[in-house]
Subunit: 221 residues, 2 copies
DNA sequence: ACCTGAACACCGTTCAAGT
DNA sequence: ACCTGAACACCGTTCAAGT
């Protein structure tokens, strides 16, 4: 009745699903190095090495968890008349999912898992680019550009292990630091120092807009 | 005569420069996790903990090495009539520097070091954007967008620890994998599968072009 | 002042052993 | 079949000790 035909032993305490759920949880609450064999062990009240019955190695587990985080990214995104605007919203949702789970960005950055939720996201993005009227070449290259920008900047922007200082005060310190540069060697930096390091979300939105608008220009050809 | 006024003991075997040089070397030949306290120890014929006299911790050392890799990125870049084309070349040079030193990308991705070579690169990029005729806001946001795209995609594209398979055969396997998807759920993916995963450099160049061209459109405003 | 040696608290992973 | 226990080969880092 459990899953195997010969349901002999007591029911297993672990499963891929339960392990993934625990990892997603650790990815959400803790920082990047919050998920280790030991931490998932205590989270599931189980020996650190128990997960090796269900996953080949830590990398396998992280990638599965990363894919799980991609679930629902395309759901409920309001449909705009312009497919590229919808796509822009999808990218923002993708970023939000990655940012709310520090360390997950590194997981998807390590290469395409070609697992379910990633496939769904890929299909949706390709479809939106295609229905915008882009040629096949531009659809594929545009897809890659948006993914690399969104995932790549999430890797950069995701909160690391130093959550002590908040983003704004850190940025303020950086700007102040630039003001100490020698004026004859760094004139432009000095002139613009006060504008450097706007909020990371504003940075991301700007680049996303440039990319999306640039892709729209390719439709005419 | 050495450096301190009281030059008593024998001259030190180590220095920040020598350690950084060794790390840059390891970053170039080996993969991402090729640089550890132990590996720099054997490279310099020195005890693994010796570097703690010269650097606060491993992070400090990696960031210094990452900055060293940025040296000369802006040197000898041919000056185009259009500053944004020169900027495009600078980004390509930055990518080349990061790609040829796997792991260095992670170093600069961990946040701005505000060290010398990074400052030089920042100044040059801001200057090129400024001389292109962009407003101050666009200069700063354009700078951030280009850096996040270039560094972020380098983190994604940099060769990891699995150098067994070459890029092209891995991409071929991925494309083949997409062809096994159920046709009714992934029609666009199936139609475009053969076009997916062009060379990483081509991917990067495409997105870079879209970004640069998009920034040029902002000049008119 | 600069480096070594020993030690500590971690990692991921393997494999024999228990149930 | 599934999990535990012990063990191995690694990490980064601290600190007392040598010279």
């Amino acid at each position: 009745m459990t899953k195997s035909s010969a349901a002999a032993g007591r029911s297993p305490r672990l499963s891929r699903e339960r392990i993934v759920a625990a990892v997603v949880d650790l990815l959400e609450t803790g920082g990047v190095d919050a998920v280790t064999t030991r931490t998932v062990g205590v989270a599931l009240q189980v020996h650190p090495t128990a997960l090796y019955r269900h996953f080949r190695d830590m990398d396998d587990l992280i990638r599965e968890a990363a894919d799980h985080i991609l679930e629902g990214v395309t759901d409920g995104v309001p449909e705009d008349n312009d497919p590229l605007e919808t796509l822009s919203l999808v990218c923002l949702r993708l970023r939000a999912a990655l940012m709310s789970h520090p360390g997950a960005a590194g997981g998807v950055a390590s290469g395409p898992s070609r697992k379910l939720h990633e496939r769904v996201l890929t299909e949706r993005m390709l479809e939106l680019l295609s229905s915008a009227g882009l040629g096949e070449e531009d659809v594929v290259l545009g897809y890659h550009a948006l993914v690399e920008y969104t995932v790549g900047s999430a890797v950069i922007d995701a909160p690391g292990r130093d959550t002590e200082q908040d983003e704004e005060s850190r940025h303020r310190a950086w700007r102040a630091d630039y003001l100490t540069a020698p004026p004859d060697e760094f004139p432009v930096t000095l002139r613009l120092a006060s504008l450097l390091y706007p909020s990371k979300d504003d940075q991301f939105r700007y680049g996303l807009r440039v990319l999306v608008d640039g892709l729209r220009d390719k439709v005419a050809s």
